[in-house]
């Protein structure tokens, strides 16, 4: 099986503190790959490195065979790897429809044309509505994103990410802070949109991980502790130990039942 995304010896220091240390991650094409680990393990930092929001101190990142270690974040997004954020990232003052449209606009409408009327973007509406239907948000098209519940903001964010037609999607804790129903809805959604693409997600909720993830990497204090299927990882005594003594509510590995 080929690897879509591969890192080798990835390190990141913040003024002497090693947040990410020698991470070699291999994400297989078409997988839903989970990155788990206790709070502060460096998961978000790894995401920031992968998407070039941070420069690695050392190490390389290869996307679909190309070395992208020196890329700019915007250029990377255009090459098909798009991320979401741990803290829900919508454009609060835009409507739900406009949120999705901003992503579509970058691909297939003018973006520098300051002399054209805004209605030239209306031809994107049909596609935007399709994406909203995909995440079951069509009824909220005209709502300001800021007025949505947390779970719905997440759905908008996923629709916006999908509008980029990414081949690789990075989701940072897509179900964090959600109630049961929302967690289930978003989990199903992720499973549904994973067809034809690769997803790397940070997730604390073991039910979600065991339910939909093909492969799991466990990060602890900046290093990869274990990697494998859910069954392999959850049986690993080092992983159990890492999660013991951490006060992480959802981090109780094994609590999710059989994969």
């Amino acid at each position: 099986m080929t690897h879509v995304l591969e890192t080798a010896g990835l390190c990141k220091e913040f003024g002497g503190f090693r947040a990410v240390s020698d991470v070699s991650l291999k994400v297989r094409e078409g997988d839903i790959h989970a990155l788990i680990g206790p709070n502060g393990a460096g998961k978000t930092t790894v995401f920031n490195l992968l998407t070039k929001f941070l420069q690695p101190t050392s190490g390389t990142i290869v996307l679909e065979g190309r070395d992208i270690t020196g890329e700019k974040p915007a250029a990377l997004a255009r090459q098909g790897m798009v991320r979401s954020f741990q803290i829900s990232a919508t454009f609060p003052d835009l409507t739900v429809l406009e949120n999705v449209r901003v992503a579509l606009q970058r691909r297939s409408a003018p973006t520098y044309a300051f002399w054209l009327p805004g209605r030239v973007l209306d031809r994107l509406n049909a596609r935007a509505m399709e994406l909203l239907e995909l995440v079951d948000m069509q009824d909220f098209a005209q709502t300001r994103a800021a007025d949505l519940s947390y779970g719905r903001k997440r759905s908008v964010e996923i629709a916006t990410t999908l509008a980029m037609e990414p081949r690789v999607m990075l989701l940072d804790e897509p179900t964090q802070g959600m109630g049961h129903e929302d967690v289930e809805r978003v989990t199903r959604l992720i499973k549904r949109v994973s067809a034809g693409r690769t997803i790397l997600m940070v997730e604390h909720n073991m039910k979600v991980v065991s339910g939909i993830c093909d492969r799991i990497s466990v990060l602890q204090r900046g290093s990869i502790l274990a990697e494998g299927s859910y069954a392999e990882v959850s049986a690993d005594p080092r992983v159990l130990e890492a999660y013991m003594g951490s006060d992480d509510a959802d981090g109780d590995i094994g609590a999710g039942g059989e994969p």
Binding site: A77, V82, F114
Partner: protein, 314 residues
């Protein structure tokens, strides 16, 4: 007809009637600063970038127009266009340099560049240094309309004002404006959607600079005089104040703010002398504390509240 068109028509009618009640030259000054503040709002209000050097565009365009019309025999329309182009180019360069930094650093770099321009203007003979550039002819617009007539000049400024506001409205509602809003609302997200954020900001900066240049050119033309004051950092500060007083991110806010500050200056200048800046400072402080959204923002909120009540009552 919706209320927006109605307001626009009322505004244009007021502009047409104004010279019957107010000195045309005072109106000219008010409108020049209103254009300047509106152009500035494109940065601070719509893009969320605080430039602290916008006087450099205002003054540079004034000098370009003044020098060209005085020494090279340019017509006023060429002078205005050249002033806008020069200011726009300077905006592009300053923007491209400053955009590498964010927040307060961005503001400081724009300030530094504007101080550099001020210093250069003070050191060259063409600008007349501290004496200023005197005797700029107003000339004939399109070779036809004699601008020595104050009313004709007012007409030109009023038309430019309407066009500038229309241009700003178009820019902020255009596809480009949509991207600007997205960047202002959530820059990392815009970046993660593949937008080269810096480029959009530089374009916004350039457009804002060019429109500021229109204001500066018109003012130099109207006064037949250009001085270092128009490049001074205190003017850069004043335009920030006008914008915030009136209300950021609205079309009419900066216009109201500019009118207010200029009228207050005009009214008080010979009465309180040195105390003027203290008074304006206090007013500014009061407005910031009492009206978070500026006059216009506050007013439209009240109106919306009243309308809501009326609807509830009926």
């Amino acid at each position: 007809m919706n209320s927006r068109t109605l307001l626009t028509l009322a505004g244009i009618a007021a502009l047409a009637l104004a010279p019957a009640f107010v000195y045309p030259m005072l109106m000219v000054k008010l409108l020049c600063f209103a254009i300047f503040a509106s152009a500035f709002n494109l940065m601070l209000g719509y893009t969320g970038l605080l430039s602290f050097g916008h006087a450099m565009f205002f003054g540079t365009a004034g000098y370009i127009l003044g020098l060209g019309m005085k020494h090279l025999g340019w017509s006023p329309e060429i002078g205005l266009i050249a002033g806008m182009a020069g200011a726009g180019l300077l905006g592009f360069i300053a923007g491209a340099i400053a955009i590498r930094r964010e927040g307060i650093y961005f503001a400081m770099i724009t300030l530094a560049i504007s101080q550099l321009i001020y210093f250069l203007a003070m050191q060259t003979d063409w600008t007349g240094r501290d004496d200023g550039l005197h005797g700029i002819p107003r000339g004939r617009l399109f070779g036809l309309i004699d601008l020595e007539n104050d009313l004709a000049l007012y007409g030109l400024v009023a038309v430019c004002f309407v066009l500038a506001l229309a241009a700003i409205h178009r820019i902020v509602t255009s596809p480009f404006g949509q991207v600007l809003t997205a960047i202002r609302e959530n820059e990392p997200r815009a970046l993660s959607l593949g937008y080269d954020v810096a480029r959009y900001k530089v374009l916004a900066f350039t457009l804002s600079a060019a429109l500021s240049g229109l204001a500066g050119g018109l003012k130099a033309l109207a006064l037949s005089y250009e001085s270092l004051n128009d490049l001074h950092w205190s003017l850069s500060g004043e335009v920030v104040m006008m914008c915030i007083l009136g209300g950021l991110g609205t079309l009419s806010g900066p216009v109201a703010g500019a009118f207010f500050v200029i009228l207050l200056q005009n009214f008080l200048a010979d009465k309180v002398g040195e105390w003027l800046s203290v008074i304006i400072g206090l007013v500014f402080l009061f407005c910031i504390l009492a009206m978070r959204k500026g006059f216009v923002g506050e007013l439209s909120q009240r109106l919306a509240g009243l309308r809501g009540k009326a609807r509830a009552a009926s």
